[in-house]
Symmetry: C2
Subunit: 248 residues, 2 copies
DNA sequence: CGACCGTTTGAAGGATATCAAGGTGAGTGG
DNA sequence: CCACTCACCTTGATATCCTTCAAACGGTCG
């Protein structure tokens, strides 16, 4: 369903939670040193190639995952082979807490978009840490609310914005994680996404993504070079978002 | 933006939390008798006419609301006058906890769809109750996860289902709260929704709702009588949802 | 009655999907 | 080293769903 389903067994990797550079920027830095040790001891470090399934929608949720490096996509499907990408999980972020909290099954599948290292934290450990550390609990709850609000925003956009504006919006977000400022001031955005992936993110088709991208290029909004999108002027891109907004 | 903006000041109503029939079926029955007394003393009971604004998107969230009778709709808008109905809140349900948890502004507006009684519970009280009652906290968290999953489901449906199937889906849910089984076995569904409201729920236009509804009537899926939709056979309606599913 | 809100219906146009074909580039095996 | 394959990308032609604009209808409440 994703790309060339690289179903290699994951390699067990070795990296420590104490040293994890990501930790200082995410929920886990609410942990005390002792708690970090407990986490480090209980978590299962993993390494996947690109296009690997980390967990499957519908199967019982047994814990959360923390992305150490690489990118994971959360994909939700229906009974008929259709699916959408709900969001990308960049390095440093944790996913799966909502399904873990509710103690239910995975509401989406997780697949790696590139070579990815991540840690699995079993529910039992998660619950113990949450029970003993109110701050950790509060942070994950906040993150959950943010995810929810973001989903609501998506619903609003899908209802009112045409593909072109949604794509502009997507590029605006992608540049933060996958953009690199060049010497000439342009921003080269190279996300690990196929046209199909972008289509799945925006609720449209791959052909439409290709067409829209090239239409925007013809209008001077950006340049396309293979999987890389070159942004020359963010204000012009922002204008694409505003443009389609004739009040009703 | 809703209906004829009935901006009457809300009347302060008088009903007790102890006697509230709704309480036994929602989160609040996790409270002890003493806690219920505290809630009852601190909450602000309100009564609104139809089409009244309970709270406004963007303004600071100062607490949660519990719907005692009637129906509330949560509407999210953008800067350009567009808006969608995210969900309906039927009697017995509480809303606003996600914004309250995060301590932020209202991510959506709430408007009454009919004459509605509700209670306002200030954040301060909410926080105290949550801090002292883990079960209450757990229940609201579960509810939040359910709302989030429901939003994700909506995104999937908007991406893949045509209006007709989404409408069938909506009717399927509406019948649970607003349907009445008649002697002849048919189900009369009369939700407090205009065509525009339904359109806002499905991310489409009112004309499309009217047309689709009548098209379904012509196909014998249902009957339309003003604002009432008469369902004769739920399996046929279910079939409408399945129909549009040619796997990709 | 007459104004108003909501609903219905028609006609036309547009955005996007669908179907189909060809192109490109990287990896693979002869 | 080249041909082959496979995934991904592009592009064109056409179809369709839905929107938009416009007009008329119906109930309801002053």
């Amino acid at each position: 369903m994703g790309r060339q389903e690289q179903s290699l067994n994951p390699t067990v990797a070795t990296f420590s939670c104490h040293d994890c550079m990501r930790r200082s920027h995410n929920e886990w830095n609410a942990l005390t040193s002792a708690e970090t040790a407990e986490l480090c001891q209980a978590r299962v470090p993993l390494r996947h190639g690109a296009g690997a399934m980390v967990c499957h929608q519908g199967e019982p949720s047994t814990g959360v995952y923390c992305v150490v490096s690489g990118t994971v996509a959360l994909r939700k499907g229906d009974d008929h082979g259709h699916s959408v990408l709900l969001r990308l999980v960049p390095a440093g972020e944790t996913f799966g807490y909502s399904d873990c909290f509710a103690g239910q099954h995975w509401s989406a599948s997780a697949e790696t978009m590139e070579t990815t290292e991540l840690c699995f934290i079993p529910r039992r450990v998660m619950n113990r840490l949450l029970a003993n550390n109110v701050e950790l609990s509060r942070r994950f709850q906040t993150h959950l609310v943010r995810d929810y609000n973001s989903a609501k925003e998506t619903i609003l956009q899908q209802a009112w914005l045409p593909v072109r504006a949604r794509l502009a919006h997507l590029l605006m977000r992608l540049k933060d994680h996958f953009g690199r400022m060049e010497k000439d001031g342009t921003i080269h955005v190279t996300p690990p996404l196929t046209r199909q992936d972008m289509a799945d993110l925006l609720g449209t088709r791959q052909e439409t993504i290709a067409r829209t991208l090239h239409a925007m290029a013809k209008d001077g909004v950006l340049r396309v070079r293979g999987r890389t999108v070159i942004l020359t002027d963010l204000r012009v891109l922002q204008g694409e978002i505003e443009r389609d907004a004739g009040a009703s």
